[in-house]
């Protein structure tokens, strides 16, 4: 390869007090060429032959460690594939993913929650249908049969499947057993209803002047997605919704939905066991206050147990119990899941094959995910895995899953989620009565639905 090179002696020879301008300009012009050529030459020939794929996830430290370990093994087993793994901060995960996909710079393999998948990614054609053969299945029926019923529902639209579950979560309840014992409550008889949460919570509260140093119970105040999941938990139980199934009738100010917000509101204003003003707002460790012993009861997902690490006040001092219910005779728990899916813009056949191979590999060891990350991968027989026997509070999680349901997807989901975040805050922070807050929300949602 020939490149225009500047003789070194032109720069160093004795008597050359200054570089001639023409030479200098030539040097400037040639520098990128030389650097580029050098850079290209520096890449080993073998790397050029590798199929490069990008994989992005949100931030959850145990999951990140597991991903890194599995990717290393995958690349070792597939030396012709290079995986570039990137972790995106939770608070801006959705925005970064969408903007990157809009500009064609997104990852080949994404890991996204069921709400986003069904509300945005699948309807807008951002992800592609899974290829059973690429994932190592003989047919789509075989693939579906490999998972427990309903497990793929969060990534299925019009009968087409767009992702494999990386984690399958059911919401249960966590109690601080040490705090229970301290105030004379029996951890073996946890609250069964939200009213009981309120009354038991009052005993668990510890105050320093006006400030609660231990809250009896509290919700989490993070981003709009968290508000959606928590209010959604209550809506499932009260039978409320934001919008009717027809997609146009606003129902958020109907009794079922108002009752759901009333439960939230009562924890703060009636029972006085929660305080959003002191809640931690760090989305990387959502259960921080429970882990630190600042909250005695909380909603909990299986993966959350992975954050209760040795040395924290909650370590060894908590129990997972069934989720309190509005109607204990008709229990219902929310389900949510994350899915590995392939970017629709990944059209190169080699890349597609490599990406599906990676997804298949990541999904191949549910035991490791259960043991290391507390992620349930809902494959048939997951509950018979040796790791399941050691999984903390396995029986509770398994039984709660039996009455699990995915939250409904509403049109204009992100806008409505944002409206509901404002609605909840106006009620729980400013004390606006739930009915009034929901009436305002109804007007705003109607306006959003009317927009093109």
């Amino acid at each position: 390869m020939s490149t225009d090179r500047i003789p070194l002696d032109a720069l160093t020879r004795a008597g050359a007090t200054r570089l001639p301008r023409r030479r200098f300009a030539q040097a400037l012009a040639a520098a990128p060429l030389v650097a580029g050529a050098g850079g290209r030459l520096a890449v080993p020939a073998r790397a050029q032959e590798k199929t490069q794929i990008k994989f992005w996830t949100h931030t959850h430290p145990p999951m990140v460690d597991q991903n890194k370990a599995m990717i290393a093994k995958f690349m070792e087993a597939n030396p012709d594939i290079e995986v570039s793994y990137e972790i995106i901060p939770n608070m801006n995960f959705a925005e970064k993913m969408l903007s990157s996909m809009g500009t064609g710079t997104g990852p080949d393999v994404i890991n996204m929650d069921d709400n986003q998948m069904r509300a945005t990614y699948i309807p807008r054609g951002l992800v592609q249908e899974v290829d059973p053969a690429g994932l190592g299945f003989k047919s789509m029926d075989d693939l579906k049969a490999a998972y427990i019923p309903g497990a793929l529902e969060g990534a299925t639209v019009d009968g087409k499947v767009y992702g494999l579950p990386s984690e399958f979560n059911v919401t249960a309840f966590a109690i601080n057993t040490a705090a229970f014992k301290e105030v004379g409550l029996d951890p073996a008889t946890p609250p069964k209803t939200w009213d009981e949460v309120g009354t038991m919570g009052q005993k668990l509260v510890v105050k320093d002047g006006d400030t609660m140093t231990r809250r009896g119970f509290d919700f989490l105040y993070l981003h709009a997605g968290w508000y959606h999941n928590q209010l959604g938990t209550l809506l499932l139980q009260t039978g409320g919704s934001y919008v009717a199934p027809d997609g146009t009738t606003v129902t958020v100010n109907q009794p079922g939905a108002v009752e759901a917000l009333q439960i939230w509101y009562d924890m703060i204003n009636k029972y006085k066991i929660a305080d959003p003003n002191v809640a931690s707002r760090e989305a990387t460790v959502p259960y921080q206050d429970f882990i630190d012993g600042k909250v005695a009861m909380t909603l909990m997902n299986p993966w959350g147990m992975g954050l209760v690490t040795t040395g924290t006040p909650a370590y060894g001092n908590y129990a997972i119990v069934p989720l309190p219910q509005v109607h204990p005779d008709k229990p219902v728990n929310p389900l949510y899941a994350y899915y590995w899916a392939l970017n629709a813009q990944t059209t190169d056949e080699k890349k597609k094959a490599a990406a599906f191979k990676l997804i298949a590999f990541l999904a191949s060891d549910p035991g490791a995910w259960l043991k290391n990350v507390n992620f349930i991968q809902p494959k048939q027989g997951w509950n018979d895995l040796p790791e399941a026997k050691d999984f903390p509070f396995f029986d509770v999680w398994a039984s709660e899953m039996l009455h699990g349901q995915f939250l409904p997807v509403t049109p204009k989901g992100p806008q409505i989620d944002d409206i509901m975040k404002q609605t909840i805050e106006s009620s729980v922070l400013n004390g606006v009565a739930p009915q009034e807050a929901m009436d305002t929300a109804a007007t705003q949602i109607e306006a959003v639905l009317k927009q093109a």
Binding site: E95, L98, S99, G102, R124, D210, Q422, S426, L429
Partner: protein, 312 residues
């Protein structure tokens, strides 16, 4: 006798071949200047002018960021002018600018005047006041988020000893905008102090001395000598302050995410959410265009105002 100098060509004589035109030294310098400026100009065109032009263009389209744009005419503009959220976020931005930058200008001017005297340790004071300026907005916002927490430094160290109960600085719709304004004043005052200090030091001391010889007091010197001569600096400070203030994004994004109940949702954050959360890029582009014209109009008015004062 022929005059000395260039002889006129004789009639009928054949003109001597002219020397090839060569650029003058100045032209050569200009050419080289252009060559060296070209990369920066290209970068500016690609990363500033082109996106601005694209924003104008996209404001006439429905554009979801992840799908191809579809023509929308003036629909995006119609939507934003009937959108309560847009009006509210614009008002929040204006409030932020007024409540942050008016106190900043006053404080900065006072500090600059104080440090323009021969006070002991003025270099130390200048450095101390300037330190927040060199810190990143993100770092400052994270630190102040902790300070403003209900169990944070402000409540426990400063208010509690005064017998004032803990305040919900970042979760109260009344206090959250105030908290961000307080933090911004702390962050911005140093920069404007240096600007005013430079302006004050550019005023020749003879005016001050002459006025004092004529019997003017301190206030009169300030009102009739310092302030008029400081007008170009004040213009610079107000233009920069207004532009920076209307474009503020990081503290609201980091400290409150625009909440609680949109109390700190400034226009830039609204634009960001509209584009990347609600996937309405066309509307966000229209909002950006409106913000552009607001800033341009305010700047123009300021220039006109100061020009009419200076020359009228």
């Amino acid at each position: 006798m022929q005059p000395t100098g260039v002889a006129a060509p004789l009639p009928g004589a054949v003109a001597a071949p002219r020397r090839r035109l060569r650029p003058s030294h100045l032209q050569q310098r200009n050419l080289w200047g252009l060559v060296f400026a070209l990369p920066a100009m290209l970068l500016f065109a690609v990363f500033a002018i082109w996106p601005i032009a694209q924003t104008f263009y996209l404001s006439f389209f429905h554009f979801s960021v992840v799908e191809p744009p579809k023509p929308a005419g003036l629909e995006n503009y119609r939507q934003i002018f009937s959108d309560g959220r847009f009006q509210s976020s614009l008002l929040t931005s204006v409030r932020y600018v007024l409540f942050t930058y008016v106190p900043v200008w006053v404080l900065a001017l006072l500090l600059a005047m104080g440090l323009n005297t021969r006070v002991k340790g003025r270099s130390v004071f200048r450095t101390v006041y300037f330190v927040p300026v060199v810190m990143s907005w993100v770092v400052v916002s994270v630190i102040w988020k902790l300070i403003f927490h209900r169990n944070g430094l402000l409540n426990t160290m400063f208010l509690a000893p005064l017998g004032i109960g803990p305040q919900n600085w970042l979760t109260s719709t009344d206090l959250a905008p105030t908290a961000i304004v307080m933090m911004s004043i702390w962050k911005e005052v140093g920069f404007f102090m240096v600007v005013f200090l430079a302006g004050l030091q550019a005023i020749p001391s003879v005016y001050d001395e002459a006025a004092r010889v004529d019997g003017s007091n301190g206030w009169q010197v300030f009102r009739y000598i310092t302030l008029p001569l400081l007008q170009p600096t004040i213009l610079f400070a107000t233009v920069i302050g207004l532009i920076t203030g209307l474009q503020v994004f990081i503290p609201q994004f980091v400290m409150t995410q625009g909440g609680p109940v949109d109390a700190t949702l400034v226009l830039t954050l609204d634009i960001y959410q509209t584009a990347f959360v609600f996937l309405d890029g066309g509307k966000a582009a229209a909002m950006s265009v409106v913000l552009f014209f607001i800033i341009a109009a305010i700047t123009l008015v300021q220039f006109r105002l100061y020009r009419s004062r200076a020359y009228g």
